[in-house]
Amino acid sequence: MELTERHVEGLKELLYKMADDLLILGHRNSEWTGLGPVLEEDIAFSSMAQDKLGQSLALYELLHELGENIPDIVAFTRNDNQFHNCHLVEMPIGEYDFSLARHFFFDHADAIRFAMLENSSFEGISMVSRKFRGEIKYHTMHADVWMKQLSHGTEESKARMQSAINAAFPLALGIFEEGEYEAELKEAGIFEGEAALKNQWLEKVNNELKKHGYTLPDADDVTPALGGRKGFHTEHLQPLLNEMSEVFQIDPGADW
């Protein structure tokens, strides 16, 4: 079908929120470099950070093809109110338990999102989604293995992970904050929508957590952290952006 202006706006909105999530989470994951609880986890978080950053770059390139600025300018010069990531990804890395719970929730959502998008009518998205599949598979596998290990570790590790799950869950629900163009995206066969994604995700993470003796809080009992998709952020995002663009902003016109 012929894409109307609203379809294109919806497409951009979708691409921006996915790209911003990946950029910000990739940045956060890279903060574990040199600080992980074991060397192998430094290395794993760094690998995932590189994948996330590479994926965000691919999505910003699609946006560039739709008329947006080049990826470096888009990523390194916007302020927090121009970012569309969810609050979950902008939170500081905290302790390893929080970073792991975030990684578990986010990557299961992203795995399902990109699996859905493999059938998108927008070829650019379906192509990159197929490409990302091979990477995200390892991210969810990594999260699952560690959720399992820590549930069978010590009493402390199990209790800490359950607390981290409880703390990260309302933030994770913010991933599925609906945008203005859900109907248009569905109508054009671009994306089935956040509600469908959220249902699949709840089932997936609930099953996975149950296997290891954890409890997922009831989604109806918690307040999702909304606003990120519309440019309303926590106090943690702008400092992150200031740091990220510190060198680039010395001279945005220079070749670095």
Binding site: G34, L35, P37, L57, Y96, V247, F248, I250
Partner: protein
Amino acid sequence: MYGNAYVENTGNNNSLTAGEDPVKLAEFEARIAAGEKIEPQDWMPKEYRRQLIRMIEQHAHSEIIGSLPEGTWITRAPGFRRKLALMAKVQDEVGHAQLLYSACETLGKSREDMINDLINGKSKYSNIFNYPAVTWADSAVIAWLVDAGAIINQLTNSKGSYGPYCRALDRICAEESFHLKYGHDNVVFLATGTPKQREMVQEAMNRWWAPLMHFFGPSDKISQHTETLMKWKVKMASNDDMRQQFLDMYVPKIWDLGLTVPDHNLKKNEESGKWEYTEPDWEEFKRVINGDGPCNKERLAVRRMAEEKGRWVRNAILKKDARYVAPLA
């Protein structure tokens, strides 16, 4: 990066072999002389084991401590290309620590004991990481020239006698050569960029020159290597020889970029083929290596914090009876 581990030059040749079975010692030395590698289960003199543990452990510590000054620039790297490359580079360095701790574990010291000795201040790491990476340009100079120095050191040591260490170094050097290219490319962009960028990189060069000259360890004039350690192929080249090699390979490249080095006495003596330079301040070197450098306290505090914060994770996955003695390389 980053390894340059200093071999301890205590004891004369006799004390290194005191109490060893002369027949076994002769066989051991004959194998090394024939170019064979010593493997974990082979007989080896106590001092050979002790010196290797010290050296490999220091090298491993240097990799993880070295990831701190560079790591702080990952979150500030300008643009996707640099951000991705720096993440991958520093990740490699942490991977090198993993390889090296594993090589060292084959000699009988656990990773946990090594890391405890690091944060207690009992074992050392490369002195160069006690200096701060003040700007983005410092991270570029580190990636180019510290890694260059490390390659010289590591290629030399990879021809040593202990199999697991040599094989780990072969793998490490392959990755280092990419780091060197990354660092050089980064410095080239700054040196040929805007006036601000040029200024940044020249200032970084000025800051890093003294630590780079210190990098290969004290001058041969004040640091005599023992013949036995050379014979055992633990120590492979003199500090001054490696320093000369570094100057020969990199000073012309620095000058080609229009950058200067803060030593007016630096020149190549065409007759001797050797570089002449102002003698580095070895008192400062000693002071810094013994804990009184600009960043020693901060580096160890960060490492200690990471160890403490991660303890509950390690406790949860610890298999108390497992021993990890198979080398990764």
